[in-house]
Amino acid sequence: MADVMIRPTSKARPAWLSASLQVGLPAVALVLMLAVIFWIRPTAMSYFGFTLLFKLATPLVLAALAQMLIIMLGDIDLSNGAFVGLITCITALHLATNPSLAIVFYLAAIIVYAGIGLLIQARQLPSIIVTLGMSFIWLGTAIMILPSPGGAAPAWLAGFMSWRPPLVPLPILLAVIAAVVGHFAISRSSYGAILRGAGSNPRAIERAGWSTTRIRVMVYAAAGLLACLSGITLTGLTTSGDPNVAPAYTLLGVGAVILGGGSFNGGIVSPVGTVIGALTLSLAGSLLSFLQVPPTWQIGAQGGILFLVLAGRVLLSEKKP
């Protein structure tokens, strides 16, 4: 089984090239989609146009990054969307009236996330089924505290989400910040290499003296924090809480990670790619309505876009030995 030992990418292409191809693909798709939109409606090519097109992108970008951390460890998080829904409920109910209570809830939720990581690691459980169970728990908790959509986002939060910073629209600015922070934390830092190693070869990381238990707990907690931020920003946009607001985030997040060059094998993820993937997916909806695709075909066309973008991987990827 010699072919397992050799890293096929390293001999044929320099590492930087395959890395930039990984990120380049969703970026090309994003630019193509924007080009089509601007061709149909040139007025969209403005500060205001960008703000509208990417209005709902920020929470999806954060949720996708949370999913990316879990996928980095070779796991998958099916509870991501339900968790974001719960956070919108907590935010809409308590953040305005009783901020300290809201923060206690956020912290408790993050600790539960870390606990899931601990449980999965300690009992060596399949993450897919544990997080499936957690999705029911998050949804149930959200329905218990807020049976029907309601509540109100604090004014400062709604204000921040509709803030117009100079030159760069807010969703783009936040996406760039998230991508840069993620890039330096996961792809560049030495600790990031350990984290990715824990996903691709946990035994090697254990032998090098790191505790994979601690890593899994920390990474799950970080994913919980990002998903929390996703819920808070989403509340700022929708200005109310809703247990069922974001079930699609789970699978859209997974799609964004894979679109951005990630792999379920663990250890191979790209924060920049994930952010661009999430932007692409949130733009797909706008593109379809610009193309005047009838509503009954819009979901199907989104599947088609997913296939088209991912088909590019086959053209770019190298032949397996």
């Binding site: 897919i128 799609g255 979901i299 088609g304 991912l310």
Partner: protein, 312 residues
């Protein structure tokens, strides 16, 4: 490992289901015991059909999963209802249409996975969007009515005992036989355990997986056909609950998500557990939120305490 009494993983579902049946009966009175069980068997039968297909896909190797199950179920229901047009004479034509839709969907899933080299979770998700759109265009918001004979068949009782669950039990037995004795079944498990080893013995892993995905689609199509007869027609959201349930019953039933190992009987235990728990919590008049939390907690609890199959 300590020396406590160790039961096979798949028995836990049955034990918990039985405990819930007792609890429901104790609360609602002895008269309701039979009705509770009959309802759980009937609703469970649909979960078992869908779960059996999902099990074949999951067993075919790590990472293999079919997220298109709900949309294939809905699309097959719509296509077969359209073909039959509520006429009893077209019963078998409708069945054939549902099976064909399922097989075709399975093939498309497999092709996307191999040709585009996509992770199954993404390929089947993207197809499910497309299938959903087809169903939407075929029927829209309207509910398409089934032929009277199909409804009669799904509700048929022989001496007070519903027939359909027993037909599905035969399906479970057939699946067990195929997995333990059949050539394809042995190959499926071999591919699931180690694709490279299976290939070295001359097994075409691709063909084995193609059949697994097709059978999963067929199972979803069959469930859609029967369910629309049972529930009075094809509706757009009829498949939604089966997305998570099909995965949950397979894993709780003792099948390993790592592939290469399958348990068809266990699906029944897990399906009964799911349906009896819903009945029990309804009888206790729990609010929806509490029901969800308890469902999730029990899934995690069962997975965490059950001794795990070796293959994982």
């Amino acid at each position: 490992m300590n020396h406590r009494l160790s039961l096979a993983p798949w028995t836990y579902g049955f034990i918990v289901a039985f405990a819930m049946w007792i609890a429901t009966t104790a609360y609602a009175g002895f008269d309701s015991a039979e009705a509770t069980l009959t309802a759980a068997l009937t609703f469970g039968a649909f979960s078992v059909v869908v779960g059996t297909g999902q099990m074949l896909v999951i067993a075919s190797g790590p990472g293999n999963i079919d997220l298109s199950v709900p949309s294939v179920l809905t699309l097959a229901a719509y296509v077969s209802m359209t073909v039959m047009n509520a006429q009893d004479g077209m019963l078998f034509a409708g069945l054939a249409a549902a099976v064909a839709v399922g097989a075709l969907a399975g093939m498309l899933n497999f092709l996307a996975i191999t040709l585009l080299r996509l992770p199954p979770i993404i390929a089947t998700l993207a197809w499910s969007f497309v299938f959903q759109s087809f169903a939407f265009n075929l029927g829209g918001e309207a509910t398409l009515k089934p032929p009277a004979m199909l409804s009669a068949f799904t509700l048929w009782r022989i001496g007070g005992v519903p027939f359909m669950p027993f037909a599905v039990m035969l399906l479970t037995l057939a699946t067990m036989a195929v997995l333990s004795r059949g050539v394809w079944g042995r190959r499926l498990l071999a591919v699931g355990q180690s694709e490279s080893a299976a290939k070295l013995t001359g097994i075409s892993a691709g063909r084995v997986r193609l059949i697994a995905y097709c059978l999963c689609g067929v199972a979803a199509g069959l469930a859609g056909y029967l369910l629309s007869g049972f529930s009075g027609g094809a509706a757009l959201n009829m498949g939604d609950v089966y997305l998570l349930e099909s995965i949950a019953v397979v894993v709780l039933g003792g099948t390993s998500v790592a592939g290469g190992q399958a348990n068809a009987v266990g699906i029944w235990g897990a399906a009964l557990f799911f349906n009896l728990m819903a009945t029990m919590l309804n009888t206790f008049q729990m609010q929806a939120g509490v029901r969800f939390v308890l469902t999730g907690a029990l899934i995690i609890l069962i997975v965490a305490i059950v001794p795990r199959p070796r293959a994982a």
